[in-house]
């Protein structure tokens, strides 16, 4: 009897649990919390702490009684944290995203609010410009305020290039020669840390754009059913990647090294590696980590090979750090006001002073490297957005994995293309 009663109790609890768990997930999660009149919470990427902090300080000084609680995360942690946090009571009021498929996801899930009115009253069309704002519009509605612009380049050490006696390569074939010369001289030609996979995907997107032409990847972004990863040009891009690997272009074990903990940057700063393929935030990193190295740095865009559909003056990149406001109950005025501080001219100037390229008009780029970056982007014949930002998450994961396998020679260009195509078909359904 004793067991019997205990058994009844347990099965009762279990039944209750089952009934509770029988509900569809999400059906009862409309409670996303409300804005706090005295506090604004902010989540952002930790590569912009100085830039964000000065805006918060000015906001707090101008808004008595309101404090800002800002948390900065490293790249991979941030993506997970944001994904899980949004749509719950733990969601931040204000946060950054990279746009693309992610932003569309937030809109579909009804997690962020339109910022058209804020843009209107703050005059963002004049300061930020219609083009940049349009990139954050979905069906005519503005969902995020873009602040920084990023592009990736091949950075090189002028000291090592002079010492070894090589010139900036004008063609892909020259690049392969330069790699051979640098390797023979005892240097790692190109520093790379690809454990987190996106550094490899930046290479891939640039090489694909060279192989397939600048309009090609737009098809996959738009979800065009005719788009096919098995296209010979994607396979050729894979072969070009493996051509670099075969030329011993990279430091040993690069697929196991971590960019976030600086394992590729160190090789570049300390003169072990002669080149580093990276976004222009590398300038900001150099200012912070190896200020004496900044003068030795210069960059070039990845050169095209003979017969490539793209040209050497194309640029791959994206608009980093766009501010969105989470949808909550109550008055979002403070959150929107903070976004205004985070997107104004002073923030743009701080960004420029810290080695970043603001999309905001007005700030002066005193650093000659940054001026050159800005000019290169302005005169580029085409601008390809980084696919790891604009593709849907499942396809992105497969693309990152396959590109890492291409670099590790764990797959063939044909097999990698087929795997991406399979993921594209599956995730489009």
């Amino acid at each position: 009897m004793r067991i019997g009663r205990m058994g009844i109790l347990i099965s009762g609890v279990a039944l209750a649990a089952l009934t509770l768990s029988g509900c569809a997930p999400g059906s009862s999660t409309s409670n996303t919390g409300s804005y706090n009149a005295e506090e604004v919470t902010v989540w952002y990427l930790n590569d912009a702490e100085a830039i964000v902090q000065q805006a918060i300080d000015r906001f707090e000084a101008d808004t008595p009684g309101v404090t800002v609680v800002a948390t900065a995360f490293s790249n991979d942690d941030y993506k997970v944290k944001r994904q899980v946090g949004l749509g719950t009571e733990a969601a931040p009021d204000v946060f950054t995203s990279e746009g693309g498929a992610l932003l569309a996801e937030f809109v579909n899930a009804d997690q962020i609010i339109p910022l058209d009115d804020l843009a209107e009253s703050a005059g963002f069309v004049n300061s930020i410009g219609a083009g940049a704002l349009d990139s954050r519009k979905i069906d005519g509605t503005l969902w995020a305020i873009p602040v920084l612009s990023d592009a990736s380049f091949v950075w090189y050490s002028k000291t090592i290039f002079d010492e070894v006696g090589v010139e900036v390569p004008a063609t892909w074939e020259d690049l392969i020669d330069v790699i051979g010369t640098l390797r023979a001289a005892g240097y790692d030609p190109i520093a790379m840390a690809n454990k987190t996979q996106w550094p490899g995907s930046h290479w891939w997107s640039e090489i694909v754009t060279l192989a397939c032409g600048p309009a090609f990847l737009a098809g996959v972004t738009a979800g065009d059913p005719a788009f096919d990863f098995n296209d010979p040009c994607i396979v050729e891009a894979g072969e070009r990647i493996q051509e670099l690997v075969d030329a011993a272009a990279f430091n040993e074990g690069f697929n196991g090294l971590d960019y976030d903990s600086g394992e590729s940057r160190q090789l570049f700063w300390n003169g072990t590696a002669a080149m580093n393929h990276m976004g222009n935030w590398l300038v900001a990193a150099a200012i912070a980590e190896a200020p004496e190295f900044v003068d030795q740095m210069d960059f070039f865009t990845l050169p095209a090979w003979n017969g490539a559909k793209g040209t050497s003056d194309m640029v791959t990149g994206g608009i980093g750090m766009s501010w969105s406001v989470a949808k909550k109950d109550g008055d979002s005025a403070n959150a929107q006001k903070l976004v205004q501080y985070l997107s104004d001219e002073k923030t743009g100037q701080t960004a420029a002073d810290n080695g970043r390229i603001p999309v905001i008009a007005g700030p002066t780029l005193s650093d000659p490297l940054l001026q050159k970056v800005s000019e290169t982007v302005n005169v580029a014949s085409a601008f390809q957005e980084w696919p790891n930002v604009v593709l849907n998450p499942t396809l992105t994961t497969v693309m990152l994995e396959q590109v890492q396998a291409l670099f590790g020679k764990d797959t063939t260009p044909e097999a990698a293309a087929a795997a991406m195509q399979a993921a594209y078909v599956e995730s489009s359904n």
């Binding site: 609890v13 997930p25 997690q111 998450p393 396998a405 764990d410």
Partner: protein, 332 residues
């Protein structure tokens, strides 16, 4: 103070209807007071309540939740969910990455049972021997288990670093440059490299369990064995190992379950890469859920993982308990 009197106060007859069944009750310690007794299951439940609550909220409830999520196509909190029936499970068995992760998990299981446990046992024999410095060795051997696994992962990341890691530096100093390589960065060596770290980290844990068991073994048996001329090696295989059988079974089950749900070191050291060569079931669940935002599919994977752990554990338990019974039957 007698704990029972507290129970009596809390669950006294004025609060609880007691039917007064003798076998199911605890009577007050002082029989002369003739207090009406509290049913034992209430007392039991009361003592278990805090733990049960934690267990229920953080284990039982999420378990049922996870099972229910596995039937949905769901992008995470706040998103619409659609019921897809068993489609998520069908997808698990179509997914090549699942099989790759399963295979890698099998390697982890094999390494923990056939390398980690024996290493733990040997270390235990060393620290329970009559060595003078055994206290020193015990402290040194146990150190890895005291460290947080994230710290261990980062530390071994430095050790394996291709340019300044101690392994490659030593190899190069010995003139063995051709052996120096990017241990964690190539699919041929990454899993083996992480496995070395797991043995380093977890073998000492089993060492402690084995050494406790060894010190409780009867010493006269060893004396008798050495009088009969058995050397140390014979004593180890003929006495120590057979007598440790129950402990070895327990540790095998622990190692088995631990290996099936293994996550932290892999996540810190390789993130499942390169090229999926160290992908495990648990890292794949994480990737599908938190990176790909496929919480329904991730739940289905987790349910399959749980089923595998349950089946594997029951096989070990049933087979070993059968082995225990057989000799007894022959005696009776």
């Amino acid at each position: 103070m007698n704990p029972l009197s507290t129970v009596e106060r809390t669950f006294g007859p004025e609060n609880m209807s007691s039917r007064g069944r003798k076998p199911s009750t605890i009577s007050a310690p002082n029989r002369t007071r003739h207090r009406r007794p509290v049913p034992i299951w209430i007392v039991g439940l009361a003592f278990m309540a805090p733990a049960l609550l934690v267990y229920g909220v953080f284990l039982i409830y999420p378990l049922f939740q996870s099972v229910s999520y596995s039937f949905f196509d769901w992008g995470g909190p706040g998103r619409e969910a659609t019921n897809v029936g068993f489609e998520n499970f069908a997808r698990v068995f179509r997914d090549p990455v699942f099989y790759r992760a399963l295979l890698n998990n099998a390697v982890v299981v094999a390494v923990s049972i056939f390398i980690q446990l024996p290493v733990g046992l040997v270390l235990a024999v060393v620290i329970t021997s009559r060595l003078r410095v055994k206290r020193f060795f015990r402290a040194v051997y146990f150190l890895p288990t005291l460290m947080s696994t994230v710290a261990v992962g980062i530390l071994w990341g430095f050790i394996y670093n291709p340019s300044y890691g101690i392994i490659n530096v030593v190899l190069r100093a010995l003139g063995l440059d051709f052996l120096a390589q990017g241990w964690l960065g190539q699919s041929s060596t990454a899993l083996a490299a992480v496995m070395v770290t797991t043995v380093w980290t977890y073998a000492p844990f089993y060492m402690i369990i084995y050494s406790a068991a060894i010190s409780s073994l009867p010493g006269d048996l060893y004396e008798a064995a050495s009088i009969d001329g058995a050397n140390k090696l014979q004593q180890f295989f003929r006495l120590t190992v057979p007598m440790l059988r129950p402990t070895i079974i327990t540790t095998s089950v622990l190692a088995l379950i631990g290996s099936i749900k293994f996550f932290d070191l892999i996540f810190v050291m390789t993130k499942g890469g390169p090229s999926g060569s160290t992908e495990l079931l648990a890292t794949y669940v994480f990737k599908q859920g938190f990176t790909n935002q496929q919480f329904g599919y991730a739940s289905a994977l987790a349910v399959v993982m749980l089923a595998i752990a349950l089946v594997a554990t029951s096989i070990v338990l049933v087979r070993t308990s059968m082995g225990e019974r057989t000799p007894r039957k022959s005696v009776t």
